[in-house]
Amino acid sequence: MTTEVAQDAVRTGAPPPAARREGGMSEKWRRRLPLLPALIFVIVLTQLPFLGTLIVSFTDWNSYYPDDRGFAGLSNYARIFTDVNARSAVVVTIVLTVSVVLICLVLGLVIALLLDRRFPGRGVVRTMMITPFLLVPIAAALLWKHALYNPEYGLLNGLLTVFLGNDAPQPDWVGSMPLPALIAAISWQWTPFMMLILLAGLQSRPMDVVEAARLDGASNWQVFRHMTLPHLRPYIELSVLLGTIYVVQNFDHVFTITAGATGSANLPYFVYQTFYTAQDYGRASAAGVVTVAGTLIVAMLALRTVFTVFQEESR
């Protein structure tokens, strides 16, 4: 037995003591061992900080007034729900996320359908479509704010001058319509993301069945409605879930394009401002907890369905 282990060790280059120790461990722990480092890492670095936020959210703590620290009960939360800015941040987050995800989904689906057929230059079109997603978000936000939206020399107003002449209207896009300006810029970045997932879904369709339906006289619309769409459902759900997770947390665009001005601060930006600028740790934490609660409620609803997608995939 010992010689066998030793021989194995020679063959695999593993030290025999380690092999013996593994042999002595219960099966349960032997299975758990490879998981533990990653699991502990994630728990310590994500759950502990959040626990910290939760605790601070029940305290009075503004770092400008270090002596007034104390237990605050629910008063931070009460202030969140009565504060106009905080309530506005909740609404902005919802409006921003829902519109961006819907726009990206519809555009992404249309483009994916267009790309799901052979035509000259398909590879080029696909590459051009992906490009917006491959810009660093802060770079994309700077591009929209300065090169496109700027009222004096931005491309948008420049094109208005080109097409409507010198007395063309020159709107201040960010100032007069901050939310649509944000929605357009964020949708531009995330549409390729939705498109890529949906395109992958389209290309995994069993084409022989579609061909058979076509031969039986099914119209394009019938094929789309009764075959493509049901097949795409899990992919749509997946892209919506992931899109929601990413867009809810958007900070870069709000920070760069509007800096939260004229009622365009979303929850992440509101928390950042309350914590970083106002130094109101208690209130920032309460807002952070509210953000998490909202995200979890939305995401949990979609999560179960996504999980079944993964199970089908792995089968």
Binding site: T12, A14, A19, L33, P34, L35, P37, A38, L39, F41, V42, L45, T46, L48, P49, F50, T53, I111, L114, L115, R117, V125, M128, I130, T131, P132, F133, L135, V136, P137, I138, A139, L142, L143, H146, N150, Y153, N157, G158, T161, V162, L196, I197, A200, G201, S239, V248, D252, P268, F275, Y281, A284, G288, T291, V292, T295, L303, V309, F310, S314
Partner: protein, 287 residues
Amino acid sequence: MTIALTPSSQRRTPFRDKAARQGLGLTVLAWAIALFFFIPFLWMVLVSFRSETDAATNPPQLFAPFSVEGYRNFFGADPWGPLLNSATASGLSTALVILLAFPAAYALSIRPVKKWQDVLFFMLSTKMLPIVAAILPIYLFAQFSGLLDNILLLTIFYTSMNLPIAIWMLRSFLAEVPGEMIEAAQLDGANLGTTLRRVIAPVVMPGIAAAALICFIFSWNELLLARVLTSTVAQTAPVYLTGFVTSQGLFLAQVCAASLVVSIPVLAAGFAAQDKLVQGLSMGAVK
């Protein structure tokens, strides 16, 4: 086969013209939409190669004299420190992520722990925890431990940010490794480390590459944590970009050049591995 098809295609001849016209219309539409999405990027590239006076004109010029003024100004402001910081944080955290995620994925697929589904679920749920909900304690810890403005602390948090994604992705790749292969290896006496390195890793290399790509991109792009945790020494490229614009005033060509340079690693990686990008973004669900 070809002969059998001929009659049916002949029967459809009357419809062919219409189908061809429809096809052409769809092709034109695809090109039009793609161009629409591409124009802002194209504009950025064009403007970045202009002198500052030619960059900010209204009406816009399609052609303007070529100039590298924007790039010269950007590199003249010495952006190498931040770029190097970004490369360090992204590269190191990606390596660490793969190192931790690979065995974990094994314990969630090939020899699964009892509650592997709950663990996966938990991993995904951490991605729903916005960074803003944890940022204050992280900041206080950094201040307390003296790790504020230290690139290693940022690396650690990028690792925790991307670890769940990598575990999901690698798990879906490992689940497809044939069980006989692993059993054969273990009958030969290979321990876990050897099995992972010599037997599984070569098979799931595409998955590892996809996971690494997406983790690198997410770390490279990250702004909020970097902005709160770093200032002068450990500043990353995205943080540098935000400060660059405010401190230099507005120089359009320079802004475009800077944005483009900072995006180049992501653009290069993404173009080179478009299919990996899809796998990564969907956390391995779409292959």
